[in-house]
C-alpha cells in the first residue's frame, strides 16, 4: 500500500536548505510489519507523512506485513516509481541488504530507518539506540518501587521474537544491566515472540514455578499486558515489578494503575524528522555529515548515524506521550476508571 | 389420463445425446417394464423423472399436470419413489439410517425416534427375505452387493407413494430375493401404484409386466401391452429398434446406430 503525501510542487525550496530545489522529490519508505510494535501501523506513518509535507517531499509509504518477499516487491515497485531515496526499516538484515543492493543497482540512496542493516550499503542510519533502549529498561526495572530496598530479587525475562534482530539488541541491553545488579538472580528466560498469547502461556508456567519472583523483564507493553493478566489472577499485580516498551495506550494505562512499573517512550518524531530532513537534503544533492557512526557488525563499516535517545516513562511523566501527540487521550483513557486516573496524572480528556 | 406421462423428453450431456424426444407412460395399477440395450438411456430417463438430471426438452406430467422437477425432493413430494441403478447409500450410516434418510421419525423434543425406526427397518427387511443382514445397526459399507440392493429397495417401498420406479432392482439379488421383489412389484401394482420396472431379464419382464416400453439408442422404439408381444419380439426390438411393424421406422433404426 502506498500513501502519497506532501506537496508535489517542486518549485518551493526545502525548509532549511539554501540550495536549489531538488529535481526529484520522491521518497520511498518501507516499514516492516504490524506485529513487532504498533508504531508501524499509525505512529510512524503519520509522523513521516507530516514531516514529508513539511519538507515538501512526495512520500510513498509501504508496510510489508512481516513478509520479506513482500518488502522486496514493494521496493521494486517504489524504484519503478522513480524514488530517489529509500528509507528501509528492514525485517532482517538479509532481506534489507538485498533491497539496498537492488536500490544501489538503480542508483537510489538508502537510509536505514530504526534498524541497522548489517552488511548492507545504506548511506545513513537513523534510529534510537536499541542496546541503549535495553539498558534503560534494565536500569528502570532495578529502580522500580516494588524492588527498591530488597537485597535479593528473583526475576524472569520474556524476550521478543528471536527472528527480530532488535529483540536481540534489547535483550543484550537489559541483560548486561541486570546480570551485574547485585542480589538479582535470573530464574528463567523465554521468548514471548512479540505475541501476547505466547507470553501469557509462558508466564503462567513461570509464575507456577517461581511464585516468589520479584520482577519481570518483559520486552514490550503488549506482552506486559499478558504478564499483568496472570499476576492479577494471583492478586500480585502491582506487587511485582513489570517492565515494558513502546508507550502504548494500554501500557500507559497500566503505568497509571501501578501494575506496570514503566514503559519506554521512543518519540517517533525524533526519528522521523531527522530521516525526512536527511532525505530532502540528499535529494537536493547534498551529502550531510552525520554526528556519529555505528559499526556494522558484519562488515566493520562505520555507518554514519543519527541516534536519538529514548525516554523512560513512569507514573511521574506518564502524560508526556499524550502531550506530545504520540497517543491520544481518548485511546489512553477509554473507561471512566481510567479517565479518573488520567485526570489525576495530568492527562486531560476531552 | 395416465399417472405418469412423459412427452418428448430430450437430454444431452455435452456432445452426447442420451435421450431424443421420448414419450412414455405408466398407469396406476400397472407394472410398466422399461427395457433397452446397455446405454440405451433407461437410467438417464429414470434420473430425469427423479429430478436428478434437468430435462433439456419435453414435459413430465403427473396425473395429467405438467410438473417441474429440479430436485430429487420435488419428485418425492409428488409421490415418486425411485431405486436408482447406482444405489447411492451413505456408507457411514447404518442400515436404519439409510432406510430413513431424509424422512427420519422424530419423537418427543424433536429427537430421532431410533427405536421405532429400527423396528420398522427390521420388519421390512425380513419381509424381503433378507436373512443374512446380521444387524440393522450395521454400517452399510460392510454389506454385500445384494444386501445393499435390498436396503435400497426397502428404503423406497417403506413409503406409500403413487409411483415407484425400480432401475434394475434385482441385478445383484439371489433367487429367493428376486422372487420376493417381483412379488412385491406385483403387490404394489395391485394396490394401485404405478410401477415402472427397468430390467434386462426378459423372463422377469414377461412374467410381471402389463406394459412394455423399449428404448433404442435414446429413442422410444415402442410401448406396447405385454399381451401383444412375444419375448422374441421384445428382444428383437431391444437389439435392432424394430420388429415387424413394431418399433422405429427402418431408416431411423439403422441411421441411429451410425
Amino acid at each position: 500500500g502506498l500513501v502519497a503525501c506532501g506537496n508535489s510542487n517542486n518549485n518551493s525550496s526545502s525548509s532549511g536548505g539554501s540550495s536549489a530545489p531538488p529535481a526529484n522529490t520522491k521518497v520511498g519508505i518501507l516499514l516492516p510489519d504490524t506485529a513487532s510494535s504498533p508504531r508501524w501501523v499509525s505512529a510512524d506513518p503519520n509522523e513521516l507523512r507530516k514531516q514529508c509535507t513539511d519538507n515538501k517531499l512526495t512520500c510513498y509509504i509501504d508496510n510489508a506485513n512481516g513478509g520479506a518477499t513482500t518488502m522486496q516487491s514493494q521496493a521494486q515497485a517504489l524504484i519503478n516509481k522513480g524514488v530517489g531515496v529509500l528509507l528501509v526499516t528492514n525485517l532482517d538484515s538479509g532481506s534489507g541488504k538485498a533491497i539496498e543492493s537492488l536500490a544501489k543497482q538503480h542508483n537510489v540512496v538508502t537510509i536505514d530507518y530504526d534498524r541497522l542493516t548489517a552488511g548492507g550499503s545504506a548511506a545513513y542510519y537513523v534510529s534510537f539506540d536499541n542496546v541503549k533502549v535495553g539498558e534503560d529498561q534494565g536500569k528502570a526495572l532495578t529502580s522500580c518501587p516494588q524492588v527498591t530496598g530488597k537485597s535479593a530479587v528473583g526475576y524472569v525475562d520474556i524476550d521478543g521474537a528471536p527472528t527480530d534482530n532488535n529483540a536481540t539488541l534489547f535483550a543484550q541491553g537489559y541483560n548486561s544491566v541486570l546480570s551485574k545488579q547485585t542480589g538479582w538472580t535470573k530464574l528463567a528466560e523465554q521468548t514471548g515472540n512479540w505475541d501476547p498469547a505466547t507470553a501469557q502461556t509462558v508466564f503462567t508456567t513461570m509464575l507456577g514455578q517461581h511464585p516468589t519472583l520479584g520482577a519481570v523483564m518483559v520486552a514490550n507493553d503488549t506482552m506486559a499486558q499478558s504478564v499483568i493478566n496472570v499476576l492479577k489472577s494471583q492478586n500480585l499485580a502491582g506487587k511485582v515489578a513489570v517492565s515494558g516498551q513502546d508507550a502504548t495506550a494500554g501500557g500507559l494505562g497500566n503505568v497509571m494503575e501501578g501494575t506496570q512499573c514503566f514503559t519506554i517512550y521512543k518519540p517517533v518524531a525524533g526519528e522521523a524528522d531527522v530521516a525526512i530532513k536527511l532525505a530532502g537534503e540528499i535529494l537536493s544533492g547534498q551529502k550531510p555529515t552525520a554526528p556519529a557512526t555505528i559499526k556494522d557488525p558484519t562488515t566493520g563499516r562505520e555507518v554514519p548515524s543519527y541516534l536519538a535517545s529514548p525516554t523512560v516513562i513512569t507514573k511521574k511523566n506518564v502524560a508526556l506521550p499524550v502531550t506530545d501527540g504520540y497517543e491520544t487521550a481518548a485511546s489512553v483513557c477509554p473507561t471512566p476508571a481510567l479517565r479518573k486516573l488520567c485526570t489525576e496524572n495530568g492527562i486531560h480528556t476531552p | 389420463m395416465r399417472t405418469l406421462e412423459l412427452q418428448g423428453i430430450g437430454k444431452s450431456f455435452g456432445p452426447v445425446v442420451a435421450l431424443k424426444s421420448v414419450d412414455f407412460g405408466a398407469e396406476a395399477g400397472d407394472v410398466t417394464a422399461l427395457v433397452g440395450d446397455n446405454g440405451a438411456g433407461k437410467s438417464t430417463l429414470v434420473k430425469c423423472i427423479g429430478g436428478i438430471h434437468r430435462i433439456d426438452t419435453g414435459e413430465v406430467l403427473i396425473d395429467g399436470t405438467a410438473q417441474h422437477l429440479h430436485e430429487p425432493r420435488d419428485a418425492a413430494h409428488l409421490g415418486i419413489e425411485i431405486v436408482h441403478q447406482d444405489l447411492a447409500l451413505c456408507d457411514n450410516l447404518d442400515v436404519v439410517g439409510n432406510m430413513f434418510l431424509g424422512r427420519e421419525r422424530v419423537g418427543r423434543l424433536h429427537t430421532l425416534d431410533e427405536n421405532a425406526m429400527e423396528q420398522m427397518a427390521r420388519e421390512t427387511l425380513t419381509s424381503l427375505s433378507v436373512r443374512t443382514v446380521r444387524s440393522v445397526r450395521q454400517k452399510v459399507a460392510s454389506l454385500s452387493g445384494g444386501q445393499r440392493q435390498t436396503v435400497a429397495i426397502a428404503k423406497s417401498v417403506l413409503w406409500s407413494s403413487k409411483i415407484v420406479i425400480l432401475d434394475e432392482p434385482t441385478a445383484a439379488l439371489g433367487v429367493a430375493q428376486t422372487e420376493q421383489v417381483l412379488e412385491l412389484v406385483r403387490r404394489l401394482a395391485d394396490r394401485g401404484v404405478a410401477v415402472v420396472l427397468v430390467s434386462h431379464n426378459m423372463n422377469d419382464v414377461m412374467q410381471v409386466a402389463d406394459s412394455i416400453a423399449v428404448l433404442f439408442l435414446g429413442r422410444m422404439a415402442t410401448q406396447v401391452r405385454r399381451s401383444d408381444v412375444t419375448q422374441t419380439q421384445v428382444v428383437e426390438l431391444i437389439t435392432s429398434g424394430r420388429s415387424g411393424d413394431l418399433g422405429l421406422p427402418g431408416a431411423e433404426s439403422i441411421g441411429a446406430s451410425a
Binding site: T34, A35, P38, V41, S42, A43, N46, P162, A171, E189, Q190, N193, Q200, T201, T204, T205, G208, Q209, D221, N229, S233, Q234, N235, T248, A249, G250, E327, P334, T335, A337 | G50, I52, E71, P72, R73, A76, H84, A88, L89, C90, D91, N92, G97, L101, G102, R103, E104, V106, T111, L112, Q119, E123, T124, S127, A141, V157, L158, S160, R187, R191
Partner: protein
C-alpha cells in the same frame, strides 16, 4: 408406512442382554477398528503422565486451571470445525473470524460505548453472518471452501488490523463480565451442583434409552455397563471439581486473604456447548443429515436432504463458534490484538479435531473429539512452555511441539490402522 410390507409381520427375536455378550461385542468392535474415543483418551493420559513426570508442578491445581483456560478457545473453535469437517469441507479462516469478531466486540464496547452484552451479541451476529456468506459462496457459487476461506483468512486479518488500528491492541476494561469468563470462578457449591446435575442427567438419559429399547424388544446396553460409565464420569468430574476447589493463590499472607478457588466459568460454557452440540449431532434430524451429506452427498440429495441448506448451516455454526472462541480468547488475554486469530490458531484447532478422531474427508467425527483433541493440544503447548528454556527457546519449542503432535497423531493412526472410514 406402506402396508404392503406388513402383510408378513415378522417375529423379532428378543435380544440377549447379558453383560458378557456386551463385552464380547465391545472387544470384537475394538478389534474390528471401531475405537471411538479410546485412542485420544489413551494419548491424553500418556502425554499428561509424561509431563507430570518431567515437570513437577504440572498437575498442581494452579496449572490445571491454566490448562483449562488455555484449552478453552481451542476446544470451542474445534467444536465448530467438527461440523465443517463432517462435510469434508475446511474453514481456514475460523481463526481470523474469531479475531475479527472479538475486535468488533472490543471496538463497539470501548469506542462506541455499547453495553457489553450488546457488543457480544453483535460479535456473535457478525460470526453467523460471515459463516452464512461463506457457506453461500461454497454452496451456490461452488467455489472450493479452501479458496473461499483462504481469501477470508487474509481479508479478516486485514479487517481486524484496521479495526484495532494503531494501538496494536484494545484492552478490555477490568470489570467487564466477559473477562470473568476465563478469570473468575464458579462458587464451590455451584460447581458441585452443576456436576451433580450433569451426572444425573447423563445417567437418566442413558438408562432411559436402555429402558425404551428393552421395552421395544431391542438389544440394549446392560445396566451394569451404564452404571460403571456414569460412575467413571462422576469420579473424574468430582476429582476435577475437588482439585479446582483448592485455593490456587500461590502466595498467601496476612494482608491478602483473597482466594482463587473454584473452576473458571468457561468450564460451564464448555459443558453447555458440548451438551448442546452433542445432542444436535447425535439425536436430531439435522445432525443425521450432516453425517449423511458428509458420507454421500448424492445419496442424501436423492433422499430429500436439503444439501445446500445443510452445507450453509455448518459454515454458520463454525463461524459462530469461531466468534465464541474469539471472545473466549479475548477474555483470556483481557484484550484484543491487531493480529488476533492469525498465526497457528486455526491449524491447532483442526489438528485437535483430527487427533480426537474426526476425519478430514467427511462423514466421521463427534463432539467429544474436539474436547479430547483440544485437551491433547493444550497439554502439549502448556507442557512444552516449561520444558524448553532460553531466549532462543521458541525454535526448539516448535520442533518439539511438532514432534509431539506427530507422535500423538501417529499413535492414534496406528491404533486405528486402516480403519479410517
Amino acid at each position: 408406512m406402506n402396508a404392503v410390507l406388513t402383510e408378513k409381520a415378522p417375529q423379532h427375536q428378543p435380544a440377549p442382554s447379558a453383560l458378557a455378550e456386551y463385552l464380547r461385542e465391545y472387544v470384537a468392535r475394538l478389534r474390528g477398528g471401531e475405537l471411538g474415543s479410546a485412542p485420544a483418551v489413551v494419548g491424553l493420559i500418556v502425554i499428561t503422565a509424561f509431563f507430570a513426570i518431567v515437570h513437577q508442578g504440572f498437575l498442581s491445581a494452579y496449572n490445571l486451571e491454566a490448562l483449562v483456560i488455555q484449552a478453552a478457545p481451542i476446544i470451542v473453535m474445534a467444536m465448530g470445525l467438527v461440523f465443517v469437517l463432517l462435510l469434508g469441507e475446511i474453514d481456514l479462516s475460523a481463526g481470523t473470524t474469531g479475531g475479527l469478531c472479538s475486535a468488533i466486540m472490543a471496538v463497539l464496547l470501548l469506542r462506541h460505548g455499547w453495553l457489553w452484552w450488546l457488543a457480544i451479541l453483535a460479535a456473535l451476529a457478525a460470526g453467523l453472518a460471515i459463516g452464512f456468506v461463506m457457506g453461500w459462496l461454497r454452496s451456490r457459487a461452488g467455489i472450493p471452501s479452501f479458496v473461499i476461506t483462504l481469501a477470508t483468512f487474509l481479508a479478516f486479518q486485514g479487517a481486524t488490523l484496521i479495526l484495532v488500528g494503531g494501538q496494536g491492541s484494545v484492552i478490555l476494561p477490568a470489570g467487564s463480565p466477559l473477562i470473568n469468563l476465563e478469570n473468575s470462578f464458579v462458587p464451590l457449591w455451584l460447581g458441585w451442583t452443576l456436576l451433580g446435575v450433569f451426572v444425573l442427567g447423563y445417567a437418566a438419559v442413558k438408562l432411559g434409552d436402555a429402558q425404551a429399547r428393552r421395552r421395544n424388544g431391542l438389544t440394549a446396553t446392560p445396566v451394569v455397563v451404564i452404571v460403571s460409565k456414569v460412575l467413571g464420569v462422576a469420579v473424574l468430574g468430582a476429582a476435577f471439581t475437588y482439585e479446582m476447589g483448592k485455593n490456587r493463590n500461590l502466595i498467601t499472607n496476612a494482608f491478602f486473604s483473597s482466594k482463587a478457588q473454584g473452576e473458571p466459568w468457561v468450564v460451564v460454557l464448555l459443558m453447555v456447548l458440548f451438551v448442546v452440540w452433542h445432542f444436535v449431532l447425535s439425536r436430531t434430524r439435522y445432525g443425521r443429515h450432516v453425517y449423511a451429506v458428509g458420507g454421500n452427498e448424492e445419496a442424501s440429495r436423492r433422499g430429500g436432504v436439503a444439501v445446500s441448506r445443510i452445507r450453509i448451516s455448518v459454515f454458520v455454526i463454525c463461524s459462530g463458534m469461531a466468534a465464541v472462541s474469539g471472545l473466549v480468547a479475548a477474555s483470556l488475554l483481557q484484550s484484543v490484538q491487531s493480529n488476533a486469530g492469525a498465526g497457528n490458531t486455526l491449524l491447532l484447532a483442526v489438528g485437535a479435531a483430527v487427533i480426537g478422531g474426526t476425519s478430514l474427508f467427511g462423514g466421521r467425527g463427534r463432539m467429544i473429539d474436539a474436547v479430547l483433541g483440544g485437551l491433547v493440544v493444550a497439554v502439549i503447548i502448556n507442557g512444552m512452555s516449561d520444558l524448553i528454556q532460553g531466549s532462543n527457546s521458541s525454535g526448539y519449542e516448535w520442533v518439539v511441539t511438532g514432534a509431539v503432535l506427530l507422535l500423538a497423531a501417529g499413535f492414534d493412526a496406528v491404533v486405528r490402522r486402516g480403519k479410517t472410514l
